[in-house]
Every structure is written in structure tokens, then in C-alpha cells.
Amino acid sequence: MAAATFRDKAAIAGVGYTRFSRDSGVSTLTLAVETILAALDDAGLRVDDVDALATHRVGDSTPPWVVAPALGVPEVRWYLDQFGGGSVSHSVVGQAAMAVAAGVAETVVCYRAINARSEFRMGGTGGGKSTARAPAPTFDVQYQAPYGYVAPAQQFAMAARAHMIRYGTTHEQFGHVAVAQRDHAMRNERALKRAPITLDDYLASRWIAEPFRLLDCCLETDGGCAVVVTSADRARDLLRPPVLISGAVWGGGDSFFSGGGPGPAGGTDLTVSEAARIAPRLYAMAGVGPADVDVAEIYDCFTYSVIVQLEDYGFCEKGQGGPYVESGATRLGGPLPVNTHGGFLSEGYVHGINHIAEAVSQLRGTAGERQVPGAAVALSTAQPGYVLAGTSALILRAAQ
């Protein structure tokens, strides 16, 4: 099967953010418009240049077919309104790149705009101004919800415990993820959490769902983020140095109830994520390997998510994700700086696209105090498939 189907055909030419907060006070349409205009401005483009919009949502945001007419986009030639949460976050940009490579669209703005704290809390948890919650993505929820098993924090905690049992991963190793990312966030003006934390602070934080404490969990954030995808050739004529989309893959589909199917682990195994399945395809498409990656923005809804993906994307041996983060390898200055913006744990939670945006900043060399010197290849990843089966990821590269 051809691997390099649309390698380097498309590029990210612009990045935009809204302010991150716990209560934006505005609609998700307002956030979408603000972040899209910011991304176009960054690229040196105008709304009149846009011919496609792409997003994903779980009933918690404003779709392209509302945003486009609101902005006065002259003609939408392609759009994507993908159902799904963090697991599909990177497929949105991947599909935009595919549309550009196919010549279906020329300028796609990918966005995510959510009031994930003030209006729509993931899993419908803990209240908020609205009690809105996502429709059950699969019927399988009926076998979980009656037991009080309803939230992503619980689902990832279950997998984290399995990893602790199998590989001896420790609470302290989860803590090292949180501490390292807070250290990175201190160098990021956009980050919601910038006060330093220690391992003791982590261990003293209250239980959410054992083995997870409060500081294992991402922030719930109101905010928007957008990236402009266009052809690599066109990107070279725009305002910013292009960031090439070298690898973009998505897929998966394992069940965490019963095995016998062709899962990445050959059966039901909570300690292996869908990243293990897509990683070979991702590296093959991009024509690089884990050793070529200079910086990784890894979906960190919870600390464990980072540890399992470090293994499944091949940065360390299976089961060694805990010792790997404990060694300091993922800190700025280490061999593989991870979540240089602070991630969802400390910058804010925009469901994946803010990881892509940070990767772009690193590859442009504009990440300031948190810049990884000479960063040329970046990995950015999505929720690794524990909530909805499947995941997605990108390998981005600075244009020569």
C-alpha cells in the first residue's frame, strides 16, 4: 500500500487563538469567528480566500455550515463536521490536508471552539451553567453508566491502573508528567496554570478517581484555536514559514470489552493504545522515525495518556514510559521535550488543536522561552483511543 500518499503536499500557514479562560462569557460561534480571523491574519489571508472549513464536535460547538455564512465566506467548496472528541482532533487537519492535496479545496481553516468549562463539561460532569452532555457515542455506555462509570477521567484511570499492574508504573511517574508540563507552562503566557508545582504538590492533590489525583487531570477550558491549511506551494508565498504536513493518519477500532478481533494487542489490553496501531503508518507516510522527532505534543487529557503514547509511538520500550518521564527525558532540554506549551494539564484544553498549534510555533522557531533549539520535526497526537476507539496523529516538518 502506498504510504506517502499526500506527504508534504499541504502545509499549515497560519495559527490563531482566542484567550483561554474558565468562562469566556461568549458563544462558541464568537470563539470560532475570533480564532479563525486570528489564524487568517497570522497567515496573511482574508476571509475571501477561504473555501473550506473543518471541525469536530460532540454536540458542543458551532458547525462549519453556521460559521461560514456568519463570516461571509464567499463559497464553501468543502467542509468537515466530524463527530467526535479528542480522538479525531488530528484527523480534522489530516483530512483538510487530503482535501487540499486532492485539489478539492485551496484554503481550509480547521478550528475548535468550546466552552468546555462554563457550558459543556466533557461527560456532562460536575454541573456548570448548562447540563448539556454529549450523546452516548456507542450503545456500550449502557454497560458502564449504571455503575457510575461515566467520565473520561475514570476510563483513563482504569487503563492507568492496568499499566501500573503490568509494568510497575508508579504514582510518582504520573506526577513527573504533571510537574514537567507545569514547568513548561511557566514559559507560556497563554497558559492558564503558571505557578510551579512539585512532586509533593502532585502527591498531595485530592483523589479524583484512583489512581488519578486532581493534578493528573487536564483543565476544563473555554477557548478556541484554529489553523489554516493550504497547499505547500501556496504556503511559501504567504506571511509565515510553511510547516509541512508530512504525516497524517487516523483509524483504529478496537473494543475494550471483548477480544478475538484484530486489535493492536491481539485482544483486549488496556495497556496498549490505538497509537500502537497507527504509529507505523504515520512514520511510513512521513518518511521519518521516532529518533527524528525533535519535539512531541502528546494528547494529555490525563498524565497516563502521555506515558502510554511515549511507548506506543516508539520513544521507549513498551512498559518503560514511566521511567522515561522520570528520567527527565521529556523536559525542555531533554532528548524529547513533550508538551512544551504545558499541554492540557497546564496551558488549557482545546481538545487537541492547541497541540498542533504549539508544534507549528516550535517548527517556526517562534516559541520564545520554551523553544526547542533547531526543532525541525514534530509529532502531535490525539486522544489515543480509550474513549472512542481510534486515534489520529500528525508529523509536521519545517519547510527547508
Partner: protein
């Protein structure tokens, strides 16, 4: 919270109401599966029947929940949710898992690979749940 039903799962919930634990079995290749599916992912047969599960298994993983994610949950906290691998079909790679709460035991008793057995708990007039207790 009451259990939402889909049409494929109705026979399972009906059986639980009668205090019977069933698993679906592919009529084509015999592979056991759970939850209900209209097709076998191995041989793709759409024919299946329901067979009694032995009702025992082992704790693969568990959480102890503290956060009141839903209204009313704080009254029960802390509570455990177990991820149980059933003994059924383990030799044939069926790898059947079910969730449930721990009953008749203290949270501190939970250990990996702990043997458990299914218990039927009538929650109200419309809902019966499968829960798990240590197997003596």
C-alpha cells in the same frame, strides 16, 4: 441512572432481570462476544445465540471513584468500578470483559487478578444490575 437499551442488547438485560448472566455466541464459529453485536468480527456470521456465562472472572483493573461526576454520586463515594475478565472463553481467546461495582467487600481488599463472581442486585422495579463480589 437507568440503563439505556439498544435493541441488540435487550435479550441481555431481560436475562439479567431474571438473574441470568448470558453471553452471545456466534453460531458460525462459536466465538463468544459481549456486548451484543449483530455480526461476528471473526467469521462474519450474522447468526448467534445466547448462552449462560459461568459468572466468574478476575479483576483486571479497577478504579476507586471520589469525584461526584453526576448528581447523587457523592452519596456513594468512594466506590469501586471493576473491570472484570470473565472465565468464559478465556481458553479460546474470547477475552470477555464486563464492568461492575464491588459488593460484599471493602475497597482495601481489591487486588489484581482477584477472583470474583457475579451478583444480581435489583435496583428498582425496572433495573437489575450485575455486580461483583470476591469469590470465596
Amino acid at each position: 441512572m437507568s440503563a439505556p437499551l439498544d435493541r441488540d442488547s435487550a435479550p441481555w438485560w431481560d436475562a439479567v432481570r431474571r438473574h441470568e448472566l448470558l453471553i452471545q455466541r456466534c453460531a458460525g464459529c462459536g466465538l463468544l462476544r459481549f456486548p451484543a453485536r449483530v455480526v461476528c468480527g471473526r467469521c462474519r456470521s450474522c447468526a448467534a445465540d445466547w448462552v449462560p456465562a459461568c459468572g466468574t472472572g478476575r479483576v483486571v483493573s479497577w478504579i476507586v471513584n471520589h469525584q461526584p461526576f453526576l448528581p447523587g454520586m457523592s452519596a456513594d463515594a468512594p466506590f469501586a468500578v471493576l473491570f472484570v475478565r470473565l472465565d468464559d472463553g478465556a481458553d479460546e481467546g474470547a477475552d470477555i470483559h464486563m464492568y461492575g461495582n464491588l459488593v460484599d467487600a471493602a475497597l482495601s481488599e481489591i487486588v489484581a487478578e482477584m477472583p470474583v463472581e457475579a451478583v444480581f442486585v435489583d435496583v428498582d422495579d425496572n433495573l437489575t444490575l450485575v455486580q461483583w463480589r470476591p469469590k470465596g
